[in-house]
Amino acid sequence: MMAALLEVQRLCTEFRTRRGVVRAVDGVDLRLDHGETLGIVGESGCGKSVTALSILRLLPRKQGRIASGRILYDGVDLVSLPESAMRRIRGNEISMIFQEPMTSLNPVYTVGFQIREVLKKHRGLEKDEARREAVRMLSLVGIPDPESRVDDYPHQMSGGMRQRAMIAMALACRPRILIADEPTTALDVTIQAQILDLMGRLKEEFGMAVLLITHDLGVVAETCRRVVVMYAGKAVEEADVEELFDVPSHPYTVGLFASLPRIGGKRGKLTPIPGTVPSLDRLPPGCAFQERCPRAEGPCFQEPPPWTAVSEGHRVRCWHPVEHS
């Protein structure tokens, strides 16, 4: 097996809060190969963003820290890398785009300036050259009339345009990995499809690996090769996309599918998973999903379930996984 491009091993990330230390990410493993798209899905608050921010070490400093685990990028552990070396990786080898295009760009600088900034920092391009490159990137992400839009301020652009500009900025230095944290959640449906399309196209063109975070299984189905399902800070199931859609094994994953609206499908009704995500500082002993799980029984209330292999490349963290015949 070829060495992974990015390998997250038993990552634990903690936050100091008024009610004590909470573990927002608890022992998560991820493996991202060259040129691959890996999806992370789960309800809001399950630790997807914190996982992503941990990889680039962008956690809010005052409260958050990586408590343990390793993040191997090209075999180098990012967790212990000096900050200066980390800065050479951010925006250059590993880039990130965020959920909120409306607030992720600095309101007082033009979009062009913000793209040039990263080109100057990592590729040493000077003003004119950087500007030409910024215009090229804007046209690459499908912004019409890039020569004039390059001088626009963020507030002069729509949400979709801003997300395109963010993508242009993130890809300006040809990163090997793009971390996209719910890049389309804040956009309306038609724009969502366009942005996903664009990301797929650029991924092929640049040969990047993508870590795509979403709470939308539809997005996963269209874009990812492998998926990791997260619940309450833990990875609970991991499989190739087709496998996960065919034989979801964790009751939570099954619940996620059941809650998908299927237009024209056999199951027309929407059945959201009953109950809510438990608060991280009051997790029950045993499985974190027990309160909402129809299969909870016996060990579920005492011991956190270990990983079990379902088949080659498909594993699940559950005492009583759903069986398919």
Partner: protein, 336 residues
């Protein structure tokens, strides 16, 4: 630059000045006390008094007095000081420049140190530095300028004579007046000794005057920075691999400056009133002291001139603050 906006603001300025001139005019005329009596002393004869009143126009109706006043003011003639007999404009101009020099110096000190301390406090929130600066800032805003000035003089001029205690320049030093700003004139005439001497005289009063605005600016900068550093675009800047100082200054401070500019603008008014006290304590030959002396002597023309100048300055500063806003925040530009 939105010129139509500037034009509209200048028009507002004219309206405000009209209002101020009417108010000042009426206020002084309605204070009991007879300037002719004051000028000529207790033993003046009624005839002499009558004659002076006539000369000053005090015997005519208020409306006429106001009309005469405005007409000549528009021609740069602010009347004659009844204490010195010199044209008010001539009296005010050099004093105004002395005050401007003091206030600008105080503003520079307040901005540099206030913003600097606030930024470090925000970046190192809850550190010893943060607690210390915020404590000092609290002391600073509640410090009576008068007391602080006297303490500084006592400590740094009398007990340990490190600084001169009064005036703008030492006796015997003289330079040709070009701008009226001692430091600038010293530079223009290549006189490093005068530059040094002027600076030496300026430091204590400027620091005294800067104390309150510096403390206010430090606190506003800190809270504004704390808010800005939590914004998504600051995280984006970090995600781009920008150096920490770029993140803090270019992406953080630039956005955090908006409320700071507002506060600086508001404090320029405070600065002018502080200037009256500071100039008195440090014998600084500025407008602040002049206006107090003129008030005491019921020197109508002089007081009117001063207050009018204050009003013009305040309105210009407000205009300037708004323009700085437009420069700092591109989102405002589009609405114009």
């Amino acid at each position: 630059m939105p010129w139509r906006y500037v034009g509209r603001r200048l028009l507002q300025l004219a309206v405000i000045l009209f209002g101020v001139s009417v108010l000042v005019f009426l206020m002084l005329r309605l204070i009991p006390g007879d300037p002719a009596q004051l000028l000529l002393g207790e033993y003046a004869t009624p005839a002499e008094l009558e004659q002076l009143r006539h000369k000053l126009g005090l015997d005519r109706s208020l409306a006429v007095q106001y009309w005469v006043y405005v007409k000549s003011a528009l021609q740069g003639d602010m009347g004659v000081s009844i204490r010195t007999g010199a044209p008010v404009f001539q009296e005010i101009a050099p004093r105004l420049i002395a005050t401007v020099e003091l206030s600008l110096a105080a503003m520079v000190i307040a901005t540099l140190f206030g913003v600097g301390a606030g930024v470090v406090s925000a970046v190192r929130q809850y550190s010893v530095w943060d607690y210390l600066t915020m404590f000092l800032a609290l002391v600073g805003v509640s410090m009576p300028i008068f007391w602080l000035g006297l303490m500084l003089i006592y400590l740094l001029s009398v007990k340990y004579p490190l600084f001169p205690m009064m005036g703008r320049l030492s006796m015997g030093l003289d330079i040709p007046v070009v701008t009226g700003l001692v430091l600038v004139d010293a530079l223009l005439s290549f006189r490093p000794d005068v530059l040094w001497d002027g600076l030496h005289h300026l430091i204590l009063p400027a620091f005294t005057l800067a104390t309150i605005p510096m403390a206010v600016v430090a606190r506003i900068t800190r809270s504004s920075m704390l808010e800005v550093l939590d914004q998504d675009y600051v995280r984006t800047a970090r995600a781009k691999g920008m150096d920490e100082w770029v993140v803090i200054l270019r992406h953080g401070l630039r956005n955090a400056m908006l409320p700071v500019v507002t506060v600086l603008g508001l404090n320029l008014g405070l600065l002018l009133s502080g200037a009256v006290l500071t100039e008195t304590i440090f014998s600084w030959p500025g407008l602040g002291r002049y206006v107090v002396d003129s008030l005491m002597g019921r020197d109508y023309a002089a007081v009117q001139g001063c207050i009018l100048i204050f009003a013009v300055i305040m309105t210009l500063i407000n205009l300037l603050v708004d323009l700085v806003y437009v420069v700092l925040d591109p989102r405002i530009r589009i609405h114009e």
